[in-house]
Structure formats: C-alpha cells, structure tokens
C-alpha cells in the first residue's frame, strides 16, 4: 500500500484490537447470561459461581484455541494457494497472462492498455505471484506470529470480560441480590466496551454502545427465561 499521507486516513482496525473485541464480546455476554439464567432457577450462589468459572475456562480455551487454529489455517491456506500460483505462472504462463488482462478488463481497461503491465509482471515471477495473490484471490500475506498472539489475546479478553459479571456472585451470598448487582455492573461494562469498540472500529460509538448492551441483555433474558422454564 502506498504511504502517501491521505491514505493514512483510511481506517483498518488492528488485528489485536479485533481479537480483544472477539474475546471480550463473548466474555462479557455469555458468562453474564449464564449466571443470570442460573439465578432464575437456582438459589445457591456457589452453584452459579462454579458454573460461571467452568464456563469462563471452557469459553476462553475454546475461543483461544479456535483463534489459534483459524490463524494457522489462514497461513496454510495462503501458503498452499501461493505454491499453486507459483506453479501456474511457470506451467500455464499464457493462461495466467490472459488472467491479468481479464482482471483489468473487469475495470474497463482494454487488453491493449493493460499489455505493458502484463508483460512487466511476466518478467518478474515472484512479483507476479504476489500480484495474483492479492488481485485475483484477494488474500493478504499473514503474519507468522499471529496465531499464538491471537490465541492469548482472545482467551485473555474472554477471561477479563467474564470476571465482571461473576464478581458480584463471589461477593454476595444471595443469588437474587448478586443478580441485580451483576446486571447493573455488566450493563455498564457492555456500554463502555461497546462505546470503545465503536471508537476503535470507526462506527458510531453511541449506537455501538447500545447495540452491545442490547445483545448482552437479550442473551441474558433468554437464558433466564429458559432456565426458569425447565426447572
């Protein structure tokens, strides 16, 4: 990407920010909803706390390892597609040249106008492969250290998010009172998180805050209703 100044204004959220958002969205919502749901059916705080911690452990590991494998599999997908393109620019040279021309014709550039570009790429096989990876397949070269960082960030954010709704049940013996405090604390946290998420991803912060709080509230209400229904 060219480093001309006005390009910098285009926003692309960093991958770490994205991972925090992924982990914390679910971490704030699911343990909150589970604890609220169980409070509707079970009187003992310690059951809610046990279930909550079990959920946080399960969710953090499942999401963290899931993120690890997703990043690894992106990297492998990129590498295997790149090997295929590398073979094709050698073995199917003319077909690949025609593809570059067709790609550009899709943007209204005639075959004659694109001919110098096609020939220039054909002189530099590695650059040509990079061009096809990005422009034909829409794939970006993944960062090799991404998988581990992604796993730790997602898992850590899930745990951090999950502790917020659970903390009141640790401090307060009655599930009824703990639920009220947990709802207040978690809705506040969802609003703050949603607002920050909106700021970080370039969407309207206030709307993002409300949407995030509504999702958490709906999930908790559904879990609460269902748990009531089946006990």
């Amino acid at each position: 990407m060219p480093q001309t100044p006005h390009v910098e204004r285009h926003f692309t959220s960093g991958e770490a920010v994205r991972d925090v958002v992924i982990g914390m969205s679910d971490g704030l919502t699911v343990p909150f909803a589970l604890a609220a749901g169980l409070s509707g059916a079970i009187q003992q705080s310690h059951v809610v706390v046990t279930a909550g911690f079990a959920e946080i452990a399960a969710g953090a590991i499942a999401m963290g390892l899931g993120g690890y494998l997703a990043a690894r599999s992106d990297a492998e997908h990129y590498a295997s597609e790149r090997r295929r393109e590398q073979a094709e620019v050698v073995e199917k040279r003319d077909l690949e040249k025609a593809e570059v021309s067709e790609l550009l014709q899709g943007y209204g550039v005639s075959a004659a106008e694109s001919a110098p570009v096609v020939e220039a790429l054909a002189q530099r096989p590695e650059a040509w492969v990079d061009f096809m990876m990005r422009f034909e397949l829409g794939l970006e070269r993944p960062d090799p250290r991404r998988a581990r960082a992604s796993a730790l960030t997602i898992g850590g954010a899930y745990v951090a998010g999950g502790m917020i709704p659970l903390a009141p049940y640790l401090a307060i013996g009655s599930t009824h009172s703990a639920l009220a405090v947990s709802i207040a604390v978690t809705l506040l946290a969802l609003l703050v998180f949603g607002w920050a998420k909106g700021r970080a991803t370039g969407s309207r912060p206030l709307r993002s805050a409300l949407q995030t709080a509504v999702i958490g509230g709906l999930a908790a209400a559904a879990a609460f209703g269902l748990a009531r229904l089946i006990t």
Copy 2:
C-alpha cells in the same frame, strides 16, 4: 474474478460454511465443557441440564447477534470507504492516479508501463473506485442479505452443536453416567465435525478432526478441574 476453468480449483470456503463452522465449533465445545465441568462438582443432573440450556441460549444469541452486527459493520465500513474513494477520485484526481501507479510499482511495473492502465481507469470513475476498493484497500463488496443469514446460521449451528453433549444428561439421571456418555458422544461428534471442516476448508481432514477433538477435550478438562477446585 476471471471464469477460466483452472481458476475454479482455487478453493474459497463459502460464507455459509464458514458460519456453520463458527457456530458449531463453539456449540459443540462450550456446552460440553460446561456440562462436564459441572458434573465434577454437582450431583444433580437437572442443574447441569438447566445450566447447559441457559448456556446454549446465551451462546447462540450472543454469537448470532454478534455475527449479525459484524456483517452489518463490514457492510457499513465498505460503504463509507467507498464514499471516501468516490470523493478522492474527483477531488484528488492526480494523487489517486499516482497511487495506482505506485501500487503497480510495488509489483515491479514501471510508471511508464502502467501509464495506459492509469489513464484508462481515470476515464471510468466508478470502475476506478472499484479498483481502489479491491486493490488498494483489499475490501470486497459485501452481500447486503448476509447479516441476517449469518446470524441465523451461526445461532442455529450453535444450538445444534450444543444439544449433542447435553442430550445424555436429559436421558440419564446420574451426572456420573451421563458424563461418560456425553464425553463419548461429543468426542465422536467433534471428530466427525473436525473431519468435515477439514474437507470443507481444504486442510487435512484427519489432522483437523484430531485438533478439533483436542480443543474440546482440553476445554472440558479445564472446566472440570476448575469446577472441582472451587467447590
């Protein structure tokens, strides 16, 4: 993308497949781990069932609505970046032309060689904007109906996945026996799902099957250990 036959061999997993994978990965893993964890601490099957259903409801809604908002926010991001590019190709015409040239220079194409392409794009502002969206920013035009379909697919896959580990607790009164059946059934389901996921995403099916089962097993073991520890 050109429709020449050999391009078809490049695999890109469909968005619906991706959504099923997202929902079912967590749906099979987290309710399984939660139920296993609670079985280590609590003797009554009905508590495990209540917590399991509460988790499935909470997880399906949180992930489904999360997927809805993610797809919506992708679409809005695309639209806002496109408006910015539309303004730029008019207001900063020369800068944008230089950018196309620099983009291609990044692939070893000289300014002289790319000049006809730059001029051709400059004649067609809409195609030029499309070109910049894909080639400068790496963004693809999102499907407007994607948000709702994505939400329903992710949520439905989560519920379907979550019912598998929970079913034994519904049928069997003792958590101890139900846990053994749930582990067997769920590990089998994780292997089958991991294998199918590997097939669908073009990675090695056997390795994918084992990885998926190991993640589920680790998450369940951690939840079980933690629940034991705090009761």
